[in-house]
């Protein structure tokens, strides 16, 4: 153990990345970052078929490396592993955090220190020979503050095999980061996860909603991260407490104007959760769900071509203007407002009926408008129409009183 520490110290001091006969390879020192390959064993068990390695990064304060979806910028680290007895290795991704960048951009990743757990499969024959195994990882990564620096490092570690002996430094370190891996929602019987796709505004106002029951937000706050889906750009999630759980709503915007496929798959990770009744245990949950997109589009056959037409603010203005005109028409037909060319006398029942028809037109136009604008603007338009009707009735009542004079 002391030898291992001295070796580690030496390789750190000498800044030389070299294979080390220990649970940790030498640090590769790259500007604001240092990275090494670690194993949890000083001596790995000869019967092992899988081993939990780690890519251990230390970063200068303010610098970060990336999650599997790097966010708006950056890119995640990649590594190719090789060596005797190694049948395959896969980088796993602990719960990330969010970094705010200038211009409203965000990055997802880790700062100060991170161990990316690596699940490595072993060839039984090689490990049974009890000879030390030399493994290398050819790592590419980007480290960013506001500025970014790409690095490439060849890391190595030599793993003795025999009577198993865990390393007191690296074994708990790898275990601690392994615990920070998100747990599949399916593996948590007390947690119910619901993923839904919402579409309003004629396919313009899209959102993904994830509701988790059986969990509460950790005091440090909860967040949702989506893996990249090329079809959509993701906004910031709105996090809310709901009875017995948490809700996350992520606004999506389409990157392509083509028709949406009937369904698509979203993979999400929710971090900063606590199990209800066990508030001290921080939990991250992940799931990969295929959701139907077609069902969420406007249901009415009439609305669909209209939704296709009604893109952008000019269509909204046109619909608003038409809604006002049809309301004015109704008010004119009912005799509450003077409108040229409209008959003001005779056929009273017919005029009243046509007024209702004009109102029906307004309702349809407002429905169409609801596909283009948000609920608040729609409510404002409706309020304005109501004020218009109220004012014309007040003027009409005032004129009538003047004509009729005091009783």
């Amino acid at each position: 153990m002391r030898l291992a520490s001295i070796h580690l110290l030496l390789s750190t001091l000498l800044l030389v990345p070299e294979p080390a006969l220990a649970a940790a390879g030498g640090w590769a020192m790259n500007g604001p970052s240092a990275v090494r390959l670690i194993t949890p064993w000083q001596v790995a068990p000869a019967a092992a078929t899988e081993i939990r390695l780690g890519l251990h990064f230390r970063l200068r304060p303010g610098w970060h490396v990336y999650w599997k979806n790097s966010g708006d910028a950056g890119y995640p680290p990649t590594a190719s592993f090789s060596g005797r007895g190694l049948a395959g290795a896969e980088i796993l991704w602990p719960a990330p955090r969010r970094f705010e960048l200038p211009g409203g951009l965000v990055a997802f990743g880790y700062e100060r220190e991170v161990v990316y757990p690596v699940r490595a499969r072993l060839r039984a024959a090689a490990i049974a020979s009890h000879e030390p195994l030399q493994w290398t990882a050819d790592v590419d990564y980007l480290v960013c503050q506001v500025d970014c620096i790409p690095y490439r490092s060849a890391l190595g570690v030599t793993q003795p095999v025999g009577e198993p002996r865990p390393d007191p430094e690296t074994a708990p370190l790898i275990a601690a980061w392994w615990k920070r891996l998100p747990q599949p929602a399916e593996s948590l019987p007390e947690v119910a996860a619901e993923t839904a796709f919402e579409s309003g505004g004629g396919g313009r106002a899209l959102a993904l909603t994830v509701r988790l029951r059986g969990v509460a937000a950790d005091p440090l706050g909860s967040d949702l991260f989506l893996e990249t889906n090329d079809q959509f750009d993701c906004g910031r999630p709105r996090v809310e407490s709901i009875p017995g759980g948490m809700s996350f709503r992520v606004p999506l915007s389409r990157r392509q104007a083509t028709l949406l496929p009937p369904a698509t798959t979203f993979a999400w990770t929710v971090t900063g959760l606590a199990r209800i009744g066990r508030p001290m245990e921080t939990l991250s949950v992940e799931a990969r769900r295929t959701v139907a997109l077609e069902a969420a589009l406007p249901p009415s056959g009439i609305a669909r071509p209209l939704a296709a037409f009604a893109r952008g603010p000019r269509a909204a203005s046109l619909l608003i203007a038409l809604a006002f005109l049809s309301t004015l028409l109704a008010l004119g037909l009912w005799g509450l407002m003077e409108i040229p060319l409209l008959p003001r006398k005779g056929h009273k029942d017919l005029r009243t009926a046509l007024g209702f028809a004009a109102c029906a037109g307004t309702v349809w136009l407002l429905y169409a408008l609801s596909l283009v604008v948000g609920a608040e603007r729609l409510a404002l338009v409706e309020l304005a129409l109501l004020v218009l009707a109220l004012l014309s009735w007040l003027r009409h009542a005032g004129r009538r009183d003047k004509l009729e004079g005091p009783p």
């Binding site: 708006d72 910028a73 200038p102 211009g103 980007l142 790409p150 090329d230 909204a316 203005s317 404002l380």
Partner: protein
């Protein structure tokens, strides 16, 4: 008469108030009109997207102080592609804020362009307005605008963020997109995830 004026005023007021309110979020979408812009190049000349209607335009978000953008300058990724597709208008846009430590003066940028043989216009978008209109997030971040002025591609230059493959091994999405456009087809993929440093807005 007074009633007419009164109602017309109401209609105009409401329509202008409600219709002019900004839409939720307007990012450039592939298949729709590319956001128009007029920007000044490092040499002081003005370029408008509208000037190039009828031609295919490539937009490259650039930042010489970003090592990823700089690697492509060193490797000649963009300049070679621009020369291979001589029919295409290639414009680089630098959206770095003058407050950023990454900012270069036009003279400094011109020296950089000469050093790496960047012979296409480099436009300055100091306010970041054009970058935001396109949703440019990284340097490099690439867009193809087709001859009709529609956005045809939005994403990465290639599939090799770390730059470990040879040029021949890489899938260059802009290269294949331009070949598709020249053949009257649409780029496939039309959207990818861009990689690189964040745009220094």
């Amino acid at each position: 008469m007074r009633t007419r004026t009164f109602s017309a005023t109401l209609v105009l007021l409401a329509a202008s108030l409600l219709g002019a309110a900004p839409a939720a979020r307007a990012a450039a979408t592939v298949g729709e009109a590319a956001p128009p812009f007029t920007l000044k190049a490092v040499d002081g000349k003005t370029h408008s997207l509208a000037d190039y209607r009828g031609k295919i335009v490539v937009l490259e978000w650039i930042n010489p102080n970003c090592p990823v953008s700089n690697r492509h300058a060193r490797e000649g990724t963009m300049t070679e592609l621009a020369h291979q597709h001589g029919e295409v208008v290639w414009l680089a846009i630098n959206s770095t804020s003058p407050q950023s430590s990454n900012y270069l003066t036009p003279a400094e940028h011109q020296a950089y362009d000469r050093k790496y043989g960047i012979d296409y216009p480099v436009l300055y978008d100091e306010s970041g307005a054009v970058g935001h209109a396109y949703g440019a997030r990284t340097t490099p971040h690439m867009f193809i605008v087709d001859a009709q002025g529609r956005l045809a591609y939005n994403g990465a230059i290639d599939d090799d963020p770390g730059g470990r493959k040879t040029k021949a091994q890489r899938s260059n999405y802009v290269g294949s997109g331009l070949t598709a456009e020249a053949a009257g087809k649409t780029p496939d993929p039309a959207v990818t995830k861009p990689y690189g440093c964040s745009v220094k807005y």
